[in-house]
């Protein structure tokens, strides 16, 4: 009996010591993660995540205090890439918020004040003083800065219309089971 207690204690203790030693010795130093995360984010410094720019968001993600769904302009693709980078599980099918959005300038309300194109972080708005402005859809990340500064509320965010080229099948739903 005593021998059994003694031997198991010794075994448990030595294994525990070994694990502790390994944890110290094999720990990964530093955090190159922040730069890698920042490379994934859109980089338009819009601030919608609530952090000071994309660098701030990257730091928060690396520290684990921010969810991977923090970037609205990034959409599902950024969520997927961030999850992969941070080694987290994410169910893409549940990310419904990211209906891709695009800014649009309503011609009838635009007065050509040029405030919007000066703040656009990706130069997605073209126009000149006293001329109606328009948005390059391929360059717009829907960060929302133009919407904030427009004095006549001519600029707004709309959902990207689905076309025959961009449409694809939704995920099949299996009845009775968790998705």
């Amino acid at each position: 009996m005593l021998i059994a207690i003694f031997s198991l204690t010794v075994l448990g203790g030595s294994l525990g010591l070994f694990l502790g030693y390994a944890a110290r010795r094999l720990e990964v130093e530093g955090n190159p993660l922040v730069e890698e995360i920042q490379a994934i984010l859109p980089g338009s410094q819009c601030g919608q995540c609530g952090f000071p720019g994309c660098a701030g968001a990257a730091q928060a993600l690396a520290n684990g205090v921010a969810p991977v769904t923090l970037c609205p302009p990034g959409g599902r693709e950024v969520v997927a890439l961030l999850a992969a980078k941070l080694g987290m599980e994410v169910n893409l099918a549940e990310i419904k918020n990211a209906v891709p959005q695009i800014a649009e300038v309503q011609d009838e309300l635009c007065i050509g004040c040029t405030k919007c194109y000066k703040v656009c972080p990706t130069d997605a708005i073209m126009g000149a003083a006293k001329q109606i402005h328009a948005v390059f859809r391929e360059a717009c990340t829907a960060c929302g800065k133009c919407v904030e500064v427009c004095p006549t509320e001519a600029t707004r965010l709309i959902s990207v219309p689905v076309t025959l080229q961009s449409w694809y099948w939704t995920k099949p739903v299996m009845p009775g089971a968790a998705a």
Binding site: G43, E77, V78, P100, P121, T122, E138, T141, W169, M174
Partner: protein, 502 residues
């Protein structure tokens, strides 16, 4: 070749299913001409590649076969008026797609005269050069009529450049219900054989093999008669689904396997559908562009199923009407065959170049039940003609692990539907795969977009910083000059005062 692989069945006989053919519904009546509908809706995108570009205006009068949409690029095809009449609209119209989304369409109002354009007819088609034949095939707007709709001229030119030894003509038609190719071979065998010989000449193929499934004995006999005195060989292949898959047909007829990341041209083989061969013959022999095709209208809900020669742009509703309407409310409308066809949201969509079949199916014919959990019976593995593991791929996709599914060979899936067909649990396997392919495609596109916008953001930042620097520099220079000017003024003032005092 590993000797053990013959123990476990080669790809010649591996996989595939034997669905109930149901061809007897539409195989007997000969091809009928569809009565001219009141309006024709011709989409500009009926093929793989860039859409055609509109080359007419609303109000223009057009002749049958007249160009209404020019080829949109290197991989594209032109579009022609399917009948003579007037262009009444150019704009969005529902496309024959499950989403029901619109696509750019030219609407023509027929005048009933069916007046053809002036056609250029050569005395001997074989006196033209292969390049000229390919050019005329391209100008005729011919695309793969088996359903793939790849521009045939592009395929011919690529094949000629790569060097083709064998032309295989696909008379398989393995999908249930469809009999359009069968009837075409029975009724127009001579024209098809001429078209085949033209394609072989244009591609530079020395050997010509026509593969026809053994469930079409009359078509085989007709084609054999037509090909009797030519170099075209008619080969009978076992009927099964998907025998019409071009890679399988190649393997069965030549024993060669197309590399996964290559095309059939790399192993010296070119595949074309029999209907495409007929269209080539029409284009070269009669100078007529592709303006119509044979469509099988079938299904238990159709009153008089059969095959119709349909002008491109006729609505599905017109075809159903010509088959004496529906006998009951169909559970599903399908464009194409039941294995790979797409569901149509309603009948007011146009028939296009790739429309081989229009089916109105009852729920009994579809036979689909609520999906049950996967019991890992591996029926799908045995059915897959491409050697994949559908149960594993679907399980990974369900768990949102698309990367593993790709690792298991998702990109090699041809979407034939054999796995979904046999699954006893009625799991929508191919639906999972097409969802995953779509999701991966969207992620890829979005990633490219994010990269591009990040570059733009960086460029802007750089520009702003440069402007700020230049401003600073300019301000500093101004300040320096001002200081100089002030100093000079001061010096001048001092000198003046000194002069005064002196």
């Amino acid at each position: 070749m590993n000797p053990l692989s013959s123990l476990f069945s080669s790809f010649r006989s591996r996989g595939g299913v034997h669905p109930d053919g149901r061809k007897q519904l539409s195989t007997e009546p000969p091809i009928r001409l569809l009565p001219l509908p009141p309006l024709l809706f011709v989409p500009l995108q009926q093929h793989v590649g860039a859409a055609a570009r509109v080359s007419v205006l609303v109000g223009d009068r057009v002749l049958k076969g007249q160009l209404i949409g020019a080829s949109g690029g290197n991989i594209s095809a032109p579009v022609h008026a399917s009948t003579s009449g007037r262009v009444v609209a150019i704009g969005d119209f529902p496309s024959p797609h499950p989403s029901g989304l619109p696509s750019a369409t030219i609407t023509i109002e027929p005048d009933g005269a069916e007046r053809w354009i002036e056609t250029r007819v050569p005395d001997d088609p074989f006196s033209l050069s292969p390049e000229e034949i390919a050019t005329r095939v391209g100008a005729a707007g011919i695309v793969g009529l088996g359903g793939a709709t790849f521009p045939s001229a592009v395929k011919l030119n690529l094949s000629r450049k790569s060097g083709i030894a064998t032309l295989i003509v696909n008379g398989g038609e393995c999908e249930p219900y469809l009999t359009c190719d069968d009837r075409l071979m029975r009724e127009r065998a001579d024209g098809i054989v001429e078209g085949i010989r033209l394609i072989a000449y244009a591609a530079g193929a020395r050997e010509i093999l026509v593969g026809i499934e053994d469930n079409k004995p009359e078509a085989i006999a007709a084609m054999r008669r037509a090909a009797a005195s030519s170099e075209v060989q008619i080969k009978v292949v076992p009927a099964m689904y998907p025998m019409g898959w071009d890679k399988r047909m190649i393997q069965v007829l030549t024993g060669k396997e197309v590399p996964a990341e290559g095309r059939s041209a790399e192993i010296g083989v070119l595949v074309h559908n029999v209907a495409t061969a007929w269209a080539v013959r029409e284009a070269i022999r009669s100078g007529r562009p592709l303006v119509s095709r044979v469509v099988t209208v079938s299904g238990a809900a159709v009153a008089a199923p059969g095959n119709l020669e349909v002008p491109i742009g006729a609505l599905a509703a017109d075809l159903i009407k010509a088959c004496r309407g529906l006998t009951s409310d169909p559970a599903r409308l399908v464009l194409g065959g039941p294995m790979m066809g797409t569901q149509l949201p309603h009948l007011k969509v146009p028939m296009v170049k790739g429309s081989s079949g229009l089916l109105a199916l009852t729920s009994k014919e579809i036979g689909l039940l609520t999906p049950a959990p996967c019991i890992r019976c591996s029926s799908c593995v045995r059915a897959c003609p491409a050697g994949l593991l559908p149960l594993e791929m679907a399980a990974h996709i369900r768990a949102a692990d698309l990367a593993s599914a790709v690792g298991l060979g998702l990109k090699d899936c041809i979407g034939c539907g054999s796995c979904s067909y046999v699954c006893p649990a009625h799991i929508p396997l191919v639906h999972y795969f097409n969802y995953a392919k779509g999701e991966l495609g969207a992620l890829e596109k979005a990633k490219l977009r994010t990269d591009a916008t990040r570059k733009l953001a960086d460029m802007r930042n750089e520009r702003m910083q440069r402007i700020a620097r230049e401003r600073e520099e300019a301000a500093r220079q101004r300040a320096a000059r001002k200081a100089e000017a002030d100093a000079a003024k001061k010096a001048a003032a001092t000198a003046a005062i000194e002069k005064e005092l002196a």
